[in-house]
């Protein structure tokens, strides 16, 4: 029987549209996919904030790049504008408020010793989140911890921080610790100790589906906003836009001899150059604008996911945005069918089990006497 999001409702009396809406958001889904995303996001986050340890005070200390005076300006003084509310008024933005709503413990703690204590505590919570211990609590702590760095020094942020924050936020509401986690291992151990003859895999949960939908829809909004914004750029229409990324020494690997030779080779062959540049620009535009619609169609889903993977691998290499690429890939794989991920992981376990049984049989066949002695 097909699983349904409305187990306690008389299905025949429920409007079809409501059922479809409920199914879309709350049809129980296997949490294993979210657990995979948790592990990847946790590792990236741990790396990102462990790196803060190098020059921690230059980022969050009282005399950091954005020092306490500049931080005060951001939180209390920066003008907040709004367009005029009528056509009679001045056409310029009017100041309606002062200061942004930024919150970080590092705005208030200025003692280096305490800053280090807090930093280590946040790293600890991110680690526990990654391994999935008390995940419901540590996921929230990891997200709030990451926000403390993000809000303290907003000038240092780039796309990776944005994606990391989004994923951490949605994982904080997801049952991402229900599989592949210490929590799960403890639960299995508890069941075994209680004498359970059979340990069931993690049960599908409505909240898993809900969290996956949140990630998926946000991913589509990001792609659509990015793609449609590019349509205003002349270089995206002329096909030359990506040269601005390929030949920009600030992030492209221009020190690499072969990469520079490749760019020169392309430049020496106009037709090839145009084909590569226009093709790449077209691929980017079609993917970013088309994916938010096509990825919901099962037949086109894999094409979109593979396209997205290719795009972010390319960005990761050419623009050295590896962590950003990994997080975007996490968002892309949120579209993979959760049951498929479980089946894939189960196949590994079965292979391991078969291999172990096979090894044991071979060992027994080779040394039956020794084994018998050992057994005694």
């Amino acid at each position: 029987m097909k699983a349904h999001a409305l187990p306690d409702v008389n299905l025949e009396r429920t409007p079809k549209a409501l059922r479809a809406w409920e199914d879309f958001w709350f049809k129980p889904a296997d949490p294993t996919l979210l657990a995979c995303i948790r592990i990847i996001v946790g590792c990236v986050t741990l790396y990102v904030y462990a790196v803060y340890s190098i020059g921690l005070m230059t980022m969050v200390g009282p005399h950091a790049w954005v020092d306490t005076r500049a931080a005060h300006y951001l939180t209390h003084e920066i003008p907040v504008g709004a367009p005029p509310s009528s056509f009679d008024a001045s056409p310029f933005m009017q100041q309606v408020d002062q200061g942004n709503y930024l919150a970080s413990v590092y705005f208030h703690v200025t003692d280096p010793a305490w800053i280090w204590v807090i930093h280590l505590a946040i790293l600890c919570s991110i680690f526990l989140f990654t391994v999935g211990y008390q995940t419901r609590i540590t996921s929230i702590l990891a997200w709030l911890g990451a926000l403390c760095y993000i809000q303290r020094t907003p000038v240092t942020l780039f796309g990776m921080d944005t994606m990391d924050n989004i994923l951490l936020m949605y994982l904080a509401v997801a049952p991402c610790g229900a599989a592949l986690s210490v929590d799960r291992w403890l639960e299995v151990r508890r069941q075994r100790r209680a004498g359970s003859p059979h340990i069931d895999p993690p049960a599908p949960q409505p909240m898993a589906q809900f969290a996956l939908r949140l990630i998926q829809i946000h991913f589509c909004i990001i792609y659509l906003a990015s793609g449609t914004a590019k349509l205003l750029g002349p270089t995206w229409w002329s096909g030359q836009a990506l040269w601005g990324c390929f030949a920009n020494f600030t992030f492209a690997p221009m020190r690499s001899e072969w990469y520079l030779s490749f760019l020169k080779f392309l430049s020496a062959h106009r037709l090839l150059w145009e084909m590569v540049m226009t093709g790449s620009a077209l691929f980017t535009l079609v993917l970013e604008i088309g994916l938010p619609f096509c990825i919901w169609m099962p037949r086109l889903r894999w094409v979109c996911i593979i396209g997205s993977i290719l795009l972010h691998l390319g960005i990761g290499y050419i623009m050295a945005l590896t962590t950003f690429g990994m997080l975007m890939l996490c968002m892309a794989i949120s579209f993979a069918p959760p049951e498929l991920v479980r089946a894939y992981l189960e196949s590994f376990r079965r292979k391991d089990k078969h291999a172990a049984e096979h090894d044991a049989e071979q060992e027994e066949a080779a040394n039956p006497r020794e084994l018998a002695v050992a057994a005694q």
Partner: protein, 395 residues
């Protein structure tokens, strides 16, 4: 009757002191104690009471988690769960009161906490179907905010859309800013533009100087630090509107005149470029960028001591925002070095003292620096920066 003799709920099993209501009340007590200690704030008490409050909230969270794991869907169960979460939100209200005015971050956190727990409590009161419908309505409001943040950002210097801007300012700002959901997602749009670099010329009390250039791959600890330095350089890009044409005309005439007949402190000519428009050579910063410049100047003076004699203090710093022009395929083929300084366009953003005070104010009067916010041709940069001393040029 059968209910009365039923086995205790799963959540009420286990050690007595770990049962949800007890843990919740203990946690709330810790928050309350942390709040009461506000009167004794000091170097020792403040950390202790903040740790107490955090521990209390975590304990309460664990209790809520444990309670909800075993909660039923009957009306009585829902009412109990709603009450349970409401008590947790009371801890948030107490915590909010325990934050001093200057701990605005704590107040923002507790304001969110209270809204979330009261919302959660109300959701728990509803039957499952209504709860799920309400949750999806909240999600739609959330994504409405994400779309608003994207649409309220003006594109390519254009005017932002009115409705999203109003929505952003008056409705979504208190929600999206603390959650850092304000990104417009306009990556490399409308066009992948030139990169921005930040160059600092630090001068020490003995007259010696050094250049510090960001981002610098070779001098950066990790790729992430490099990306963050790139972000800081980009933060210098925010511009204020160009002055009215009549004011601008006076500014460029003065810049042009002084470039040909520089004041005594400059060794040679610092001409205005004639190959590009004057408007494109003048980039006054927005207030935000100005404040960041002051902070960066303080940082550089404090953290980059004289390499030969660290006891010599940094006394002033000149800051240049440098645009990097990407070489065309033809230039690359013609042998252009992508790292060549001739592909860079420095703009003078001001000279600051070690306290971040702008030493050369902007203006048309005599005190105003004629080069401030103007492009300095790369071959005249050393002259402008002061690397080449006037006496060197004198016959």
């Amino acid at each position: 009757m059968a209910q009365e003799h039923a086995a205790p709920a799963a959540t009420e099993q286990g050690p007595v002191w770990l049962r949800p209501w007890r843990v919740l009340l203990t946690g709330s007590g810790a928050v309350l104690l942390g709040t009461i200690l506000i009167s004794f704030d000091g170097p020792v008490v403040t950390p202790v009471r903040l740790i107490l409050m955090l521990a209390g909230l975590i304990a309460g969270g664990l209790a809520v988690q444990r309670h909800l794991a075993g909660a039923g869907e009957e009306l009585d169960d829902r009412v109990e769960s709603a009450g349970f979460i409401a008590v947790y939100s009371l801890a948030g209200i107490v915590g909010f009161l325990g934050m001093q005015d200057d701990w605005f971050s704590g107040r923002i956190f507790f304001a969110f906490f209270i809204c979330a727990t009261i919302g959660g409590s109300l959701l728990m009161l509803m039957p499952r179907v209504w709860r799920r419908l309400a949750a999806t309505v909240l999600v739609l409001l959330h994504f409405g905010g994400i779309v608003t943040a994207s649409a309220s950002s003006g594109m390519g210097g254009g005017e932002p859309a009115w409705l999203p801007s109003e929505l952003m300012t008056y409705v979504y700002r208190p929600y999206l800013y603390p959650m850092y959901l304000v990104n417009a997602y306009h990556f490399y749009a409308p066009d992948p533009g030139a990169s921005t670099l930040a160059w600092y010329r630090v001068e020490y009390e003995d007259g010696s100087y050094r250049w510090i250039k960001f981002p610098d791959r070779a001098a950066t600890e990790t790729p992430l630090h490099y990306q963050r330095h790139m972000g800081m350089a980009e933060s210098l890009n925010s511009r204020s509107p160009t002055p009215p044409p009549e004011v601008f005309e006076k500014l460029w005439k003065r810049r042009s005149r002084v470039g040909k007949q520089p004041p005594r402190q400059y060794a040679g000519l610092i001409p205005i470029r004639e190959d590009i428009s004057y408007w494109a050579q003048f980039t006054p910063p927005a207030e935000y960028t100005q404040k960041m410049l002051e902070s960066y100047a303080r940082f550089v003076c404090l953290n980059y001591p004289n390499p030969d004699d660290p006891s010599k203090r940094a006394v002033r710093v000149k800051v240049y925002r440098v645009y990097y022009k990407i070489p065309s395929p033809g230039e690359l083929l013609g042998g252009a070095d992508p790292y060549d300084d001739n592909l860079k366009r420095p703009f003078f953003m001001g000279e600051f003292d070690a306290d971040g005070k702008l030493l050369t104010p902007f203006g048309l009067d005599e005190r105003g620096d004629p080069f401030l916010y103007w492009e300095i041709p790369m071959d005249a940069l050393k002259i402008h920066a002061g690397d080449v001393k006037p006496e060197v040029m004198e016959p």
